[in-house]
Amino acid sequence: MKKALGIIGIFAAIFIVACIFGENFLTGINLMQLTQRAALYSILALGASLVIVTGGIDLSIGSVVCLAGIMTPWLLVEHEWAPAQVIPTVLLMSAFIGLCHGLLVTRLRLQPFLVTLCGLLLYRGIARWMTGDQTQGFMGEFGEVRAIALTKFAIPGIENYRIPSTVIPMIVLAVLIGLFFSRTVWGRWLLATGRNESAARYSGVPTAWLVTMSYVACSLLAGFGGMLFIFDIGSAQPSDFGNFYELYAIAAAVLGGCSLRGGEISVIGVVVGAATLQVLRNTIILVGLSSQLEFAVIGAVLLVGVAADELIRRFNARRLERTGAAASA
């Protein structure tokens, strides 16, 4: 929780700016769409944080999003599979990708950066080759499947705002991962492995297995996220769908308090981190800044945010030290 305070502060600041300067920011439909986007990116960011906690990194998230997202309509529309076959197939494929990463990292001891960078190139390449660079879409059909990501639940008493269905898997995942790290033995082991692999190994923790499972979970969530993304958007092009999503996911995780050295995580932080990025993008348009400036503004705001967070933290630490000294003198 404490680690998440910084990003919560940044989020709050952006939110307030958006309320004051953004046209129609605080309307139900805008908040609804923001919730949807935040939920989708959170799922990816949670996956990324599972690998980051082991001290690794997964650069292939965006490409797995692409492959899983492209395969879904491709199998449904071009190959006329039933949805009940497609969804498990795509998820299994994603998990298998993660398994390969995990085994290459733990058994062959290759650097995670390199393995998943190859993955980044490979899976997008496969998606492009498979579809011949053709946009894949649902052609206006499969409404009942796409409802998984498109349903909105009304809240009694509140108008305009309805809860997007993607929030459900996001919350379930966040709670599960939170409990995993705070309450279960395996979560504990994973934290120890991330910080000091040999200490964990010497304590009898099956580190290789745990790290492999983290990669599996990360890719599985990326594949799941990719499916939700395509349900939401309706169609995608293999050559650009999911581009850079790994950076958004990793950025959200790191903003949310994960250290790339491993062994640290804050689930709330990660979710808020993912939401922050989406609110920021939305704010830029609603405030009326030119979309050319979007990147520059995101970069600048994040940088100022984390720097301010660090300075505040230091200031507090110093004050604590001083008052602590006074008390004991």
């Binding site: 053709q134 995608a236 769908f241």
Partner: protein, 334 residues
């Protein structure tokens, strides 16, 4: 779709009774390019002339980004949107949403099945055809290579097919489709392939260089996106192949025009993005006053492409520079 079109028409009828004093319309491109900057100049000039607010958006990140921008514009509350859909067949929902909440027209690439009130632009197949004919005049046979940013977009596919049909002298048929990976010979020309680069210029240049290496006897190239042609000129200059490889260009890159003036580029097919922007705003603004008279029965407002050859290159270039300058000033003001 029909219902949504009717609903929009009803709203326009309502505007007739109570015209909007100052309307706010938007122009959304399909990506980021010089082409669109010129269109933006047109849109802003029209806004100034007609006294309405204009927002121009360039989505840099593909379909998802375009969807997000349209959503955000609707939230902002916009009276009408002119959009260049990246992938009309698969963007039905988002286009329907625009039609539901606002007034929808398309530019540059059409979405005939969407509830759009009209389309402003030219037919990419026809423009491709023009380019193909230009090439056919300047080069009587041999190996032909096609370079294009990417083939995912509908306009890119149609442009390429038009080029092939025009070059080979086939009877025009927009529904025809030659596989990009297929190598075939017809009417004395061998199409050796189509290369894409996902907008990475260094890669695009490498493509051209590599293909010229692979086929030292290449007779003709075409770059179907603006930068493909510009880079083709660059590579021809660098390898000293002026006149040995013919180039039928697309769009108005500075180097391309220079090449035409020097004589080693056959010519180029240019569109009128300024017109797209200007007409889009003009039509949307008229809608908010209850006026639909500008839309012909076909629903297509044609702003045809032109072929620039050595004789008209100079005057075209001067005119373009003036428009670009206006566009930049408009951009700076925003």
């Amino acid at each position: 779709a029909g219902d949504l079109v009717q609903a929009q028409k009803d709203r326009i009828a309502a505007y007739k009774a109570k015209p909007k004093a100052k309307s706010h319309v938007a122009f959304v491109s399909n990506g980021v390019a010089d082409f669109w900057t010129i269109a933006k100049a047109g849109a802003i000039a029209a806004g100034k002339e007609l006294g309405c607010d204009v927002t121009v958006e360039f989505p840099g990140g593909g379909l998802g980004d375009q969807k997000r921008m349209l959503e955000d514009l609707l939230i902002k509350g916009i009276d009408g949107i002119s959009v260049s859909p990246i992938d009309p067949t698969n963007q039905a929902e988002v286009l329907a949403m625009v039609a539901e909440k606002s007034l929808l027209i398309t530019n540059d690439s059409d979405a005939p099945n969407a509830p759009r009130l009209c389309y402003i632009g030219m037919d990419n197949y026809d423009a491709g055809l023009m380019c193909g004919k230009l090439a056919r005049e300047g080069c009587k046979g041999g190996k032909v290579a096609i370079f294009i940013g990417r083939l995912e977009q509908d306009n890119a596919k149609r442009r390429r097919q038009g080029f092939i049909d025009g070059l080979l002298g086939r009877t025009p048929d927009p529904t025809r489709y030659d596989e990009p990976s297929k190598v075939f010979t017809e009417a004395g020309y061998t199409i050796v392939g189509t290369w894409t680069d996902s907008f990475d210029r260094a890669k695009a240049k490498a493509n051209i260089e590599d293909v010229m290496i692979k086929h030292p006897d290449l007779a003709l190239m075409t770059g179907l996106f603006e930068y493909n042609s510009t880079l083709a000129v660059e590579v021809i200059r660098q390898t000293g192949k002026e006149g040995k490889v013919q180039l039928a260009a697309f769009d108005e890159g500075a180097d391309v025009i220079a090449g035409i003036k020097e004589g080693f580029v056959l010519g180029t097919v240019v569109q009128d993005p300024y017109g797209y922007g200007f007409e889009s705003v003009k039509v949307l603004n008229a809608f908010t006053k209850g006026d639909m008279s500008m839309v012909p029965a076909s629903g297509v407002i044609n702003i045809p492409a032109r072929v620039i050859r050595k004789d008209n290159a100079e005057s075209f270039w001067k005119d373009l520079k003036a428009k670009l300058k206006a566009g930049k000033e408009a951009g700076a003001k925003k």
